[in-house]
């Protein structure tokens, strides 16, 4: 799950990057509206964590801009101003959720997962396909009821494929989900992860669509 954090406090931004990373998310951090705008234009995110008071403007303006341009990316507002009227204004501007500072890191993770899930049109917190059950909240996986041991990256690749079972995900899309901007991507990293996954869940579970990418088999 790839998350964009727009927060200008360096300590908090670092905490979000590391903390949400521990929860299995790939996090990119920017510290201004302008950088956030640029990030949203170049990459697809599953959710955005947006601070309201940024040095070059209000997060609300960026949010309004996003919604005006038809951007449907789920947004969680993070702000020190958590009066009821502020919450109402934030939600009415197009935010999907609202969290006042200071907050609980686990709660933030859960809320981000929830808005990302709803952004994909899912209600169930768990992903299920081809006999595999993924629980993103605790990063646990089972295959036909038996526990499945996956690395963080493997889990992310599998989650990306299982979010839309039967749909082809390109290698670039999967890479996007796995790595933030600052991270170095090895050229065959996705292939390596797919290879390891196939070893664990069976060759037929992940289908290679030549020239397009990969997809999870819908019928077991």
């Amino acid at each position: 799950m790839r998350i964009l954090v727009i927060e200008d406090d360096p300590v908090l931004a670092d905490g979000l990057k590391v903390g949400l990373g521990l929860a299995g998310m790939t996090v990119d951090c920017v510290d201004s509206c302008a950088d956030g705008r640029a990030a949203l234009a170049t990459s697809a995110f599953d959710a955005v964590v947006l601070d309201l008071m940024l040095t070059d403007g209000s997060g609300l303006d960026l949010l309004r801009e996003m919604r005006g341009a038809g951007d449907r990316t789920p947004v969680l507002l993070l702000t020190a101003m958590d009066e009821t009227s502020d919450r109402i204004r934030g939600l009415d501007t197009g935010a999907d959720d609202y969290l006042g500072k200071p907050f609980d890191l686990d709660e933030l993770g859960a809320r981000v997962r929830a808005i990302a899930r709803r952004g994909l049109g899912r209600a169930s917190p768990c992903l299920a396909a081809a006999g595999i059950l993924l629980d993103p909240a605790v990063l646990s996986a089972t295959l036909h009821g038996a526990p499945l041991s996956l690395s963080r990256r493997e889990f992310s690749v599998l989650a990306a494929l299982m979010e839309r079972p039967g749909t082809v995900r390109s290698k670039a899309e999967i890479e996007d989900r796995l790595y933030g901007w600052q991270e170095e991507i090895e050229s065959n990293a996705v292939e390596v992860h797919i290879h390891h996954l196939r070893a664990k869940i069976g060759r037929e579970a992940i289908e290679t669509v030549r020239g397009l990418g990969y997809r999870i088999r819908v019928t077991p």
Partner: protein, 446 residues
């Protein structure tokens, strides 16, 4: 008297009363003089008339003539009394209203005399040919009654009208003062938060200055409150954000299995605690600056002592940035508030150190001319478009440092201005970096 209406009512009513009484007095005096003259003339006429009667007919039984003299209208009957005396002192005749005793001893002309306890005014004509002296008189009491009746006639309607007039004045005053009452109701019925100006369109010219003064006050109070709200909101944001960072990092440190991750989180916590401590110190300094309205005591301060104090009390500065202080500046003595000068210089130094890269130097020096104190850093300076904004509270520009609070320059500026001085900021032309000059106003005491 505290009621404007009551006061105006009293003034108007007493003024009306005084004017009325003056008019009555004027009429009284004028009428009385006129009446004296008319009645004296009548006495004279009557005396002459009787005298000519006496001369034309040899009156032996004059009583026949005289009753006609007393045939006067009711209320004022028997106004005139007449006596005819022979020159040798015998009473020849008298009118019925006349007293028995001789009216006057005067030979001729006007005279006043008290007869039987009443004051009379008498006119006497002595006629040598008829050998008779005619005296015609009236009682002064009658004259007084005439005048007092006249005055009563004037006063009676006045007394009737007075309450009506008072009522009219009272009602008119009420109507006239209505705009004041409306304004009082308008202002009195407001919420504590409502600082909108009073609508000046309906106000009469006399009330407008008061209304404008009130509106001016409202505007000032509103501005002060807005400022306070903004500062509080900013302070809340600036405090809760590091708290959120602290909590997040603490949770990471607790849950991270990886030693490096935990170490990183703990380092972030230390960094954040340092920054937050400084933020709290600066917020308190600002609150203190805002709270004390009275001017701080000014005294001669040796700048070197201030630097010693800053060095002694400042939290450990970034060890890799050195602070150089020019000896000429150390010995400089300026007249200032020691407390405010320390506050200003400390914040300028912290700001400079924060923006100077590792291994750099922050330099304090004395201005070439005058008593200006200059600090130079080796940072990136301030973009020109942000120059007017950097002394605003919580403003953090594009070239901000990681641990800045956005308050340092605001505090320095406020402290210097409180001392009557000026803080000038300029980017250094020779190197990158900022040059800040504290220029104190010349000492006006000497």
């Amino acid at each position: 008297m505290t009621s404007l209406r009551g006061r105006l009512f009293a003034i108007l009513l007493s003024a009306t009363g005084v004017i009325w009484l003056s008019a009555v007095l004027w009429i009284y005096v004028g009428t009385r003089g006129e009446l004296e003259h008319v009645l004296d003339t009548r006495l004279q006429e009557a005396a002459r008339m009787v005298n000519s009667l006496v001369a034309s007919a040899d009156i032996t039984a004059p009583a026949a003539v005289l009753p006609s003299l007393s045939a006067e209208s009711s209320g004022y009957e028997r106004q005139l009394s007449c006596q005819i005396w022979s020159l040798d002192g015998r009473l020849i005749a008298r009118s019925s209203s006349a007293p028995d005793s001789r009216l006057t001893e005067a030979e001729s002309g006007f005279s006043d005399r008290v007869v039987d306890g009443e004051t009379w005014r008498i006119y006497t004509i002595a006629n040598a040919t008829t050998g008779a002296r005619v005296m015609v008189g009236d009682r002064l009491g009658l004259r007084d009654r005439l005048v007092s009746d006249l005055i009563k006639g004037l006063l009676a309607p006045a007394l009737l009208i007075a309450p009506l007039l008072a009522l009219l004045i009272w009602i008119s005053l009420g109507r006239g003062l209505r705009p004041l009452r409306t304004m009082a109701r308008d202002v009195g019925g407001r919420d504590a938060d409502d600082m909108s100006p009073i609508d000046p369109v309906r106000a009469p010219a006399e009330v407008k200055p008061l209304m404008q003064a009130l509106n001016g006050l409202f505007a000032k109070v509103e501005a002060a409150r807005r400022h306070e709200r903004e500062v509080t909101a900013f302070a809340a944001h600036e405090l809760r954000t590091p708290l959120a960072g602290l909590k997040t990092q603490a949770q990471i440190a607790m849950s991270a299995g990886d030693c490096a991750v935990r170490q990183g989180a703990l380092q972030q916590i230390v960094l954040s605690v340092d920054r937050t401590t400084r933020l709290v110190r600066q917020l308190l300094a600002l609150a203190k600056l805002d709270a004390t309205a009275e001017p701080h005591a000014r005294e001669p301060v040796t700048v070197g002592d201030v630097f010693d104090e800053i060095a002694a009390t400042a939290p450990a500065p970034k060890s890799d940035v050195s602070v150089a202080i020019e000896p000429a500046l150390r010995s400089l003595t300026i007249v200032a508030s020691r407390e405010l000068l320390t506050l200003a210089l400390r914040n300028l130094q912290e700001n400079a150190v924060q923006h100077t890269p590792s291994g750099g130097t922050v330099t304090w020096r004395r201005a070439a001319a005058g008593t200006g104190i200059i600090i130079e850093d080796e940072g990136t300076g301030i973009p020109e478009d942000e120059m007017p904004l950097v002394t605003q509270r919580f403003f953090r520009g594009r070239n901000r440092s990681a641990i800045g609070t956005g308050l340092g320059l605001a505090i320095a500026d406020a402290a210097v201005r409180r001392m009557g001085g000026q803080l000038r900021l300029a980017n250094r032309r020779d190197h990158g970096g900022l040059e800040a000059t504290v220029q104190m106003a010349p000492d006006t005491r000497s």
